[in-house]
Subunit: 353 residues, 2 copies
DNA sequence: GTTAGCACTCCGGGGCTGAGAGTGCTAACG
DNA sequence: CGTTAGCACTCTCAGCCCCGGAGTGCTAAC
């Protein structure tokens, strides 16, 4: 409840619901999320000891339907929450639970097991998230708002081929190969790097661009490569997105065959990121997109729970889960929030220089 | 046909087949691979103008069945190739076609588009392979037979945290974070690296281990980290395996739901690699494992086409496709062979120092 | 050796049916 | 007035039957 503040994107409670209607809606959502089938009045009264008869529940359901919170797929066969119903549930009806302590401990344990390396953290985050949320997870590498160079090195691989390794102020590492116009040996490369590195540490790609103009010869060549490599860090590339856990998605009844493929294509292709990322990057905290609320049309049958993570003003990454609209939002939100905090802490440790 | 030499792992043609039987077997395999359904005598004579009547085909089929090449799932409903039948097809009946020129050109084009970087090549190889072979692809990073150090650098991230970057003789790069027992600054790190690097270039992890014993203080500390990092390159880790293209697998009728999950777990967990890799690493060229021929039990319903790639004696990686036993082996073999050659060429360019 | 004919088998899809679950409406009850 | 019991109706789903299509083995004839 108390998280309504940063979850509610908009809040159109046109018809104020009675307390009992809220209870019924809550039960419908919970029941349907769990079973996947439409839920009827009789079933509800049987499973939950509400003090009233099925007939009364039917009345309430009819009103909920009129107000647009639930929907009857067929003349008979019970009700299913609408997107609006899910939204109301998430914003007003759901307890914002912490991730159970057991899970927290287990997760921390797993992170301690793994090598201290960004790549591994991201991979692990994706796996863990998929598991605890029971959905498909997506994690992007953290990316500096505006990367600043800390250091670079040149390592010769072949007479005319060298490896440029650069480290940003935010401890991100990037390596690119450079084709040299003429043969150079390692000592020459080292001298070159040593001579130039002091000049450009702490600068952004744009600032280095200015130095490139001023420089000449091989210095100019190296600097321009450094600049381009640094610039490459400003954009998220596809390979830097990890996802995990579509086994979970495949086992959902509603995504038997083709839908799973669509989902997959969505994640592989950048469509997902391109659509969601801009919307989310600015807002901090956990955000929830349900059904038609989603930025991309292909996502209209899905629910998304995402959060940014990272160190404020330094680096930010994105992490979240994607599932059918009929998903356990409570668990997903807990998981995403916890993972975001954990990853942020890890980043902070790394950057607190 | 001419490739029987390096494809045939064993070759038990107990009952010599007549020419016509070979034709029938070939057609059965082709037809079944394409349609996925059992193939009957009548259908064959209708689709392919063989000079004989269905009855004759039935005779031949009966003999093929007796010899164990095909199998009737139900009393009626046509025949399906057995594992043995597929093997015979692959070893004796299949034309070893080159990958069509169009595909070759397209693939080369894609590789030119991408940055000159090992990571990207592997990723691309997986994607391309999955696409051209129409199956799930698996590509492992190349890994030196015994890695030798070429160069390393130390870059300070925080007072007590540094990044160790090492490059092997085979141009593989590895970065690990090192927790320092006491604060050090960048100049000190650079001096340390410069002082030590000459001593250990060209050495293997084992050889460096000896130097560690001899060294003292921070030199000893650094060298032991270098050694461990180098050793880390000797084993394939899970994260260095790319796979792609299970959309293809999902659309296969025989892997509707649960099987797809099993398949997936297989690839994620190292089971696949652990089982297949040892078997294959020693043999060069394309290898085919069909059904029960597979090293791992879980793979008994699959076919695998794999090849090593890399530079002989320097680095080797693995690349291949996994599909249902009923897969288009011809296309897969062409694709795998071509990709292995291409990747090998790329590696060779990189290592021809 | 090949083929036509025949009787038989089996799968798969279409249509039917009955059980189960749910609904709205109405009338009665406190 | 809110709540409830009863009722007639609707719709889904699983099981069943049935039939057509495809395939088979066998036998007899060419």
């Amino acid at each position: 409840m108390q998280q309504a503040s940063h979850l509610a994107s908009y809040d159109q409670e046109m018809v104020p619901l009675t307390d009992r209607q809220r209870v019924v809606l809550k039960l419908i959502v919970q029941e349907h999320v769990q079973s996947g089938r439409p839920v009827g009045s009789k079933g509800l009264t049987e499973r939950y000891a509400i003090g009233v008869s099925p007939a009364t529940i039917r009345h309430e359901m009819a009103e909920l339907e009129a107000a647009g919170y639930v929907q009857a797929l067929h003349t008979s066969g019970g009700r299913v929450p609408t997107d609006q119903g899910y939204r109301y549930f998430v914003h007003h009806l759901m307890e914002a639970a912490e991730l159970p302590a057991v899970d927290q401990i287990m997760i921390r344990h797993q992170f301690r097991q793994v090598e201290v390396q960004l790549e591994h953290w991201i991979e692990l985050a994706a796996t863990v998230l998929a598991e605890t949320a029971g959905n498909v997870s997506v994690v992007t590498a953290p990316r500096p708002t505006i990367p600043r160079l800390r250091h670079f090195e040149l390592i010769g691989l072949q007479p005319k081929l060298a490896l440029l390794i650069l480290v940003t102020h935010e401890s991100l590492v990037r390596q690119v190969m450079i084709h040299w116009p003429e043969p150079v040996d390692q000592p020459a490369l080292s001298r070159l790097a040593d001579a130039l590195v002091a000049d450009v540490t702490g600068l952004t790609a744009d600032e280095i661009a200015a130095r490139v103009q001023a420089a000449e010869g091989s210095a100019r060549f190296v600097l321009s490569e450094v600049m381009m490599a640094l610039r490459g860090l400003e954009t998220v590339s596809q390979t830097e997105v990890r996802h995990s856990g579509w086994q979970n998605m495949l086992s959902q009844p509603e995504f038997g065959g083709d839908d799973a493929r669509g989902m997959l294509d969505l994640l592989r292709g950048g469509a997902f990121l391109n659509a969601v990322l801009p919307q989310i990057a600015s807002v901090s905290g956990v955000q929830v997109f349900i059904g038609d609320e989603n930025p991309a049309d292909e996502l209209r049958r899905f629910g998304i729970v995402v959060s940014t993570y990272g160190v404020d003003g330094e680096v930010t990454g994105l992490l979240g889960v994607v599932g059918p609209t009929r998903m356990a939002y409570g668990r997903s939100i807990s998981s995403v929030r916890y993972m975001a905090r954990l990853m942020s802490d890890l980043m902070a440790d790394l950057y607190s220089a």
